[in-house]
Amino acid sequence: MTNGSYALKARSHPSYVAFILHRVSGLLLAAFLPLHFLALSQALHGEAALDSFLSWADNPMVKIAEVGLVLMLALHLGCGLRVMALEALGWTSWQKSMVAIAFGGSLVAGTFFLLRVF
């Protein structure tokens, strides 16, 4: 094994994965915000412009992207609650359960949204 693969293996534990997913989901959500504001700003150009955008957003690809967005949001929320529980309540012995709840809850939220949009 190379030094890099050893380093990766050393970090392959639930809490570290939760840390990475918390950061990555946060960055992706932050990157989405300008698009969100851009979409909302279409209303400033009148009803037709917004309706045109909303009909484009009915595109299945956009719906799939929305599922990803909901998944990121749920993941960020779950991982954030994990950190808050850890820091405010000192529940270190529950870590693996909390990480599992965060991931499981995110998947449930994403799947629920997926079933609703199609």
Binding site: Y6, A7, K9
Partner: protein
């Protein structure tokens, strides 16, 4: 008898891994492997150990990418194949080969307010701490730290932010903050509330994952975060 192919960090020049073949035996520890190399294959190899029974915390090194105490780590536990990769602990300057310079590590314990200061003198009677008191219970595990540096070597925050006090120093401070004999609680909280203190911990928990004594520095650090927050809300800091 099968052989272990052991790759060992040698610091000569710009440093490189050097390979040794070591006979594999039953109940063989990583420290046994390093000692075999030094005594039979290359006497110039430098490494550090003392007690050999998991008490002194001096023999830690990176084994197949993970920081471990080597005297209590069996080869069978960490080797799926016959390959073994040994390096000095990460996040420490290297003195030579597998020997790290622990100076900064212990300096950070001082910076974090790790020296006990009680109100009693040697003329007073011994302070009695009830084993079931809340302060004593809160640090029941944390006081067992042997200062091996495994948590510090496993922490990515230390790697990214070299000023960060690190899990061991913060764990030590936590034990003193909860010590009812202690007289410097607020000084300690001030020492760990800065940019390099407890709030820099990202709860990655590699320290807790790797601690050979199965302690949880993350738990101690989260305790310090709560103590600092409470003191700040009360206007004590």
């Amino acid at each position: 008898m099968s052989k272990l192919k052991v790759s060992v960090w040698r610091s000569a020049g710009s440093g490189a891994q050097e390979y040794f073949d070591v006979p594999r035996k039953e109940n063989q520890t990583i420290l046994d492997v390093v000692t075999y190399i030094q005594r039979n294959l290359d006497p110039t190899l430098s490494y550090r150990y003392a007690c050999r029974v998991g008490m002194c915390g001096s023999c830690a090194m990176s084994v197949n990418g993970k920081a471990r105490w080597t005297c209590r780590t069996h080869v069978d536990k960490v080797c799926d194949s016959d390959a073994l990769d040994l390096r000095p602990l990460e996040n420490f300057p290297v003195v030579k080969d597998l020997v790290c310079d622990m100076q900064t590590f212990f300096d950070k314990q001082k910076k974090a307010g790790g020296a006990f200061l009680g109100a009693h003198t040697r003329e007073d009677s011994v302070a009695l701490i009830k084993p079931d008191s809340s302060g004593r219970m809160a640090v029941d595990e944390a006081i067992e730290c042997i200062g091996c540096g495994v948590c510090y070597a496993s922490c990515d925050v230390v790697k990214w932010k070299p000023d960060y006090l690190g899990p061991a120093a913060l764990n030590r401070t936590w034990t003193l903050v909860k010590d009812e004999r202690d007289t410097r609680r607020l000084d300690r909280l001030r020492a760990v509330s800065g940019d390099a203190g407890c709030h820099s911990c990202h709860s990655q928990m590699s320290c807790t994952q790797r601690c050979p004594k199965l302690l949880s520095p993350t738990h101690s650090i989260s305790g310090l975060k709560r103590e600092v927050s409470r003191a700040a809300l009360k206007g004590e800091l």
